[in-house]
Subunit: 391 residues, 2 copies
C-alpha cells in the first residue's frame, strides 16, 4: 500500500425530504448569499427548484439563479457564473442537479476568487489556492462529484474536455442526497450513471500497487452492491431502497475511498472523454464501450487484477479454467451485465457507426501526452488497438 | 435505509514516516501550542515521543506533555489534563497512542471549554457544544477512535465505564497512521484490537433496517479483509502490507461508514463494558467472549443477519443446511477464527473463572436501562442468558 492522505469532509445529508434542510445547511456553512446553479427544465418541472428557493427564503438567504447547464458542461456558462459574482461576498454556490451542474458550480467557485481566466486551472497553467464553498442538492447518481474534489469542463473553442482535481478546494461542503429525487430519471440515464460509478471504481482497482487488501475488498463490496441493486432500480424506478443504495454507492465510488493507497489508472476515462468531446455521447454509455475494450487489451499484458475482478465480483469459478479463460469470462459477464441494463458496449451500438480513430488517438495524446494510464502504460499503438476493439 | 447524516472530516495521513508531518499538521489545524497525551513507556522507549516533539519544535510549536494514560482510561487523568490548560489559548490536544490515549485527549478537549466537570457529558447531564481540536498519532489499530466521534472513559469513583458520542465535536482534525508504529504491538494486543474492530462492524451490521445493501456490502468487505490479513499480521508482525491493511480497516470499522442508514445495536459493547469495569479485562478480548454468546441468543429470535454474515463473510454453504445449521456453523467459524488468533471466547478462557453474573446484569441495566440493544431488545432475562452462555 502506498502512502496516502484521505480527507472527505463533505457533510452528507441523506434521505427523504432532506432538500428541506438546504437553507439551514447554507447558513451553517457560512453563506450570507447563494448562487443556485441548475441544468435544464427537470429541476423546475419537478418543483425541486421551488422547494430549494423556499428553504433559502425561510433561512433568510437572498439568492440568484443561473440555469442552462448542459451535459458535458461548457466553459462559457462558467464565465457567466463568475461574472454574476463580481463584488459580492459570503457567497455559497449551490448546485441543484447532477455531475455537470456540480462541476460547473465547482469551476465557478474556483474561478470567482482568481484574477485570471478560470480555464487556466484546467489547462494546468495555474493551481487553485482558494475557492468559494459549494453545496449540492443531488438529482443524478453517477459522476460522484457530490463527494469528490474533481470537476470536468469542456472548452468549446478547443474541443478539449479536461478533468481538474483539487481535493482540498473543490470538495462540496455539504451534499443533500434524497433518493426520491432520482425516481424520474429515465432508464438510459440511470444505467449510464451506474456504469460511470462502476468505472470510477475500476480506475482505482486496476493498479500495480501491492498489499491493497482492505481497499480492494471495499471496492469489491461497492461493486457487488451496484450489480445487485441496478436491475432492481430499472425494474421498479420508484422503489426507495434500490434507488437509495445506488445513490450512496455513486458517492462511495468516487470520493477516494475505493482507491486509498493505490496508484490509479484513469486511461479509460481519458479515452472516453475524447469520444464524448468528438461525438457528444453520454459519458457513462461511452465508458461501457471503452472499458471492456481497455480491459481486454491490458489483461493480456497484466492479468492480475482482471482475474481478481472476475472471481471476487463476477463469481467466475476458477476450477479447471486457465487464467485467460477466467478473464474472458469476467469480461463477458461485465458486458452482459451492462447490456442487461440497456447500455451499448460497442461504438456501433452507441450510434458512432464510422468513428474517426485517427482523430480520437491524436486528440487523446495531444491532451494527455504519451503514454497514458498506469496499470499498463498505453502508447499510441495500444490506445489505437483499444479504440479499434471498441468499434 | 434510514435517513442519515455522515460527515468524517478527519484528515488521515497514512503511511511510512508520516509522524514527521505532525508539527506541520498541528500548524495547519490552527494550533499555537500543543498538549501531548500519551500512555505508558512504549511511546517513550520506541523513540516516537522524541520524534513527535522534534517535529513540533521544528514547526515552532511549544508543547506540554501528560503521560500515564492506562487501558480503560480513567477520569482523574482527564481532570489533570484539563487543569494543565487553564488560561492557555490556541491549544491542540495531541494524542500519541491508541484508543485509551485518544479517548482521554477527547475528554480533555471537551472538558477544557466547559465550566462544570467534564463527567457531566458522560453522565448525560450536559451536551458538548464546543471542544478543542484533537490530533492523533496512532500506535494501536483497534478502537477506531482516530476516526470516530466517540470517547469511552471510566469513572473510578462509581466504577462506571461510559461511551460518549459527539461526532460534530469529538472527531479528530487529523490522524497520522504509520503502520510501522504497530510492529512492536504484542500478539495478544494485536488480536484484541482486531476483535474490537470486527465487533464495531457487527454492532452496525446487526440491524432490522431494510434495504441496506450498499452499507452491508462495504461492511462485509472490511470484515473479509480483516479475516484475510489478521493471520498474516500475527505470522509476520513486521510485514508492512498486512499491518497497513489492518490499520486502515480499524478506522473504516468505526468512523460510521459501516453503519450509514442503519439502526445500530451496541448491546455487546455495553455488556463488555461491564465485564471490563468489574474485572479489568482487555476490551477486545472481552468482546471475543461476549459477542458469540450474544449472537447465539439473538439469532434464535432474529435469524436474518446471522445467516447473511455466515454466508457472505464466512462462506458457509447454504445448500442442504437448515437456517439454524447455517447460523451455528457461522458462529463456529467466528469462534474458531478468534481462537486461531489466540483470543479467548469464554470467560473461563479470559481468566474470569467465577463471574458474578448478578452484578454484571445489575450494573448493566442500572447504567444502560432496560431493555438494551435494537436487533433484539434484551431484558434482564436475556442479558443474563448471554452472560451465562459466555461463562
Amino acid at each position: 500500500m502506498n502512502n496516502f492522505t484521505f480527507c472527505s469532509p463533505t457533510e452528507f445529508v441523506f434521505g427523504r425530504d432532506t432538500e428541506q434542510q438546504v437553507g439551514q445547511l447554507c447558513l451553517k456553512h457560512g453563506a450570507s448569499r447563494v448562487l443556485i446553479i441548475y441544468g435544464g427544465g427537470s429541476a423546475v418541472r419537478s418543483g425541486l427548484l421551488d422547494r430549494v428557493q423556499q428553504s433559502l427564503t425561510e433561512a433568510g438567504l437572498p439568492f440568484d439563479t443561473l440555469g442552462g447547464v448542459k451535459p458535458n458542461p461548457e466553459d462559457d456558462l462558467v464565465r457567466e457564473g463568475i461574472a454574476c459574482l463580481v463584488g459580492q461576498e459570503g457567497i455559497l454556490i449551490l448546485a441543484v442537479g447532477g455531475g455537470s451542474v456540480i462541476d460547473t458550480a465547482k469551476a465557478i467557485a474556483a474561478g470567482a476568487l482568481y484574477d485570471g481566466d478560470f480555464w487556466d486551472f484546467y489547462a494546468g497553467k495555474a493551481k487553485i489556492e482558494r475557492a468559494l464553498p459549494v453545496g449540492v442538492v443531488l438529482t443524478i447518481p453517477a459522476a460522484g462529484s457530490e463527494g469528490s474534489g474533481n470537476s470536468v469542463i469542456t472548452n468549446t473553442a478547443t474541443g478539449q474536455k479536461i478533468s481538474l482535481r483539487s481535493p482540498e478546494h473543490l470538495r462540496p461542503v455539504f451534499a443533500i442526497m434524497n433518493p426520491e429525487l432520482t425516481y424520474t430519471l429515465p432508464p438510459y440515464q440511470t444505467a449510464s450513471g451506474i456504469c460511470d460509478m462502476m468505472v470510477h471504481i475500476f480506475e482505482r482497482y486496476f493498479t500495480n500497487t501491492p498489499d491493497t487488501s482492505i481497499t480492494d475488498h471495499v471496492a469489491e463490496g461497492v461493486l457487488r452492491s451496484i450489480i445487485e441493486q441496478a436491475p432492481l432500480v430499472l425494474q421498479a424506478p420508484t422503489d426507495y431502497g434500490p434507488r437509495a443504495n445506488i445513490m450512496w454507492a455513486g458517492m462511495l465510488a468516487h470520493n477516494g475511498l475505493c482507491g486509498t493507497g493505490h496508484e490509479e489508472d484513469w486511461a479509460s476515462h481519458f479515452m472516453e472523454h475524447e469520444l464524448s468531446a468528438l461525438y457528444g455521447v453520454t459519458h457513462g454509455a461511452g465508458l461501457a464501450v471503452i472499458f471492456p475494450a481497455w480491459l481486454a487489451v491490458v489483461s493480456v499484458r497484466n492479468p492480475r487484477k482482471a482475474i481478481q475482478l472476475a472471481t471476487n465480483v463476477f463469481d467466475v469459478p476458477t476450477f479447471g479454467l486457465r487464467p485467460e479463460q477466467i478473464i474472458a469470462e469476467g469480461i463477458h459477464r461485465l458486458r452482459a451485465f451492462w447490456h442487461s441494463l440497456g447500455l451499448p458496449t460497442t461504438m456501433h451500438e452507441l450510434g458512432v457507426t464510422d468513428p474517426d480513430i485517427d482523430a480520437l488517438v491524436n486528440n487523446l495524446h495531444v491532451t494527455k501526452g504519451e503514454p497514458i494510464g498506469s496499470y499498463v502504460r498505453l502508447d499510441r499503438t495500444l490506445t489505437r488497438e483499444i479504440y479499434e476493439l471498441a468499434r
